[in-house]
């Protein structure tokens, strides 16, 4: 589903990722961990084509980073649900419209949008907040809206960048339960986190990045 073949990424003189080779199978959940600045976010950005490798190749389903063009990047991203670290919610749209946006870019007919959005909000337990605007929500609620937006389009891959950062342990546990549910439907999940509690005893593969390279691969 996702393959990194000898991928390196540089920002000016800084090396963000060095010679990364890994693969993630369909329906698998993996964790990417490591200290701040280790390259976790960059690795995710390479998957959703917000960054491109300087050397090597990233393959996501049928998309290949060395065969990218202006039209296949949007279609790649429509296959991926992203939980951004900084949420990227639109402050001037309510919760419903924020979640619906993921369906509208996929050209889902308006008559089907409502049912999908309400299902996704129900899953993250925010059905009662459809008319609220993001600035009026707590951090945990905003995080759950982002998750609802990431999964509403039924993507084949969900990427989550520090999905529980700054959340209390109970909320974090609730969010991880949601990811488990999504994974149970066959969705591939990649979670970047520095919180070891999230992958402890999960039995999932954990890639630890250090100094821009994969330092270890172990089971959580």
């Amino acid at each position: 589903m996702i393959t990194f073949e000898g991928v390196s990424k540089y920002y000016d003189t800084t090396t963000a990722l060095r010679n990364i080779t890994l693969s993630v199978g369909r329906g698998e959940t993996i964790f990417v961990t490591g200290p701040s600045g280790a390259g976790k976010s960059t690795l995710l950005k390479l998957i959703y084509a917000a960054e491109f490798p300087d050397t090597g190749r990233v393959t996501v389903d049928e998309w290949q980073s060395d065969r990218r063009n202006g039209s296949n990047i949007p279609s790649l991203r429509r296959n991926i649900g992203i939980v951004f670290q900084d949420f990227r919610l639109l402050g001037n749209r309510n919760v419903y419209d924020n979640v619906a946006l993921a369906l509208r870019v996929r050209k889902v007919p308006e008559r089907e949008v409502k049912a999908h959005v309400l299902d996704a909000l129900k899953m993250v337990n925010l059905r009662h907040k459809t008319d609220s605007f993001p600035p009026a929500l707590s951090g945990g609620e905003q995080q759950r809206v982002v998750i609802a937006r990431a999964v509403v389009g039924d993507p084949i891959i969900v990427l989550a960048d520090e999905p529980t950062g700054n959340l209390d342990p109970d909320t974090a546990a609730g969010i991880m339960r949601i990811f488990k549910e999504i994974n149970a439907r066959g969705t591939t999940i990649v979670i970047a986190t520095h919180n070891r509690e999230l992958f402890r005893d999960t039995g999932k593969r954990v890639f630890r990045l250090d100094n821009a390279a994969v330092a270890s691969e172990e089971r959580g």
Binding site: S71, L76, V105
Partner: protein
Amino acid sequence: MPYPLKIALQSLWREKWINLLSMLTIAMGLLVISLVFSSLYNVGLFTRTLPEKFFIVAYLKDGLAENEIQKIVASIKASGPVEKVTYISKDEALRELKQSLKDAEYIVGGLDENPLNTLFPVSLKREAVGPEKVKELAGSLRKMNGIDDVQYGEKFLLSIDSVRTGMETIGLILMTVMISGVIFICYSTVKILFYRRKEEIETLKLLGATKTFIRTPFVIEGSVIGMAGGILSFAIALAFYFSVFSKLSATVPLMKTVVFPFDMFLLLPAVGLFLGVTGSLIALGRIRFE
């Protein structure tokens, strides 16, 4: 309601002041364009009616026989873009002169013999009334046997032609400047709206939106602003027509010859729409995903 239209309408309302200002400026720009166009239209109309009033006068030498005169008429008719040749005998010419002098007929009363020539006023085909062609035709008439002199309003023709050319040039420059101005206003409005929603656009791109999905609401906004400007300029023109122009036409004789090109003003909303779309598309430019 389709989603892009909903977003466009929301943004039009949210940014109503900047949009209103742009719309007013576009309306004024379109009005200036219409004004220039109307002037050019009237100048064109005036110069188009000119050929009907214009003619070259060929004066014949004295003592020509009837068959020689007929030959000359035939040669004139064959010599290019001639519409009509009228024959005025020297007696007829004198009679007309006396008629035109009316009370002052005594001026010619004491003459022993008729000093006037037989003459042919030669009216030209519409397309031939231009300084170069008339000069050429007059030259060829002068060379004909039996023709004493040829006269036409050369200076008048030249000045009319230069006024028309001058006005057309200035008008075209003004119209180009104003059209560019209107496009620029649409361009800057959409650019401002685009920058204000830059973060939203970045999010849309990351969610997988296509270029068309991102562009459509902005193009709708540009079109609405442009078309609203066009409708407003049409309304102002209409108000001007009924409150000022029609009254002036009824009272000022000079204004009776001025035509208000109503059909052209009907096009203003469409012109506004076109310029709005053009400005928006230029403002949005290339949306890159890399």
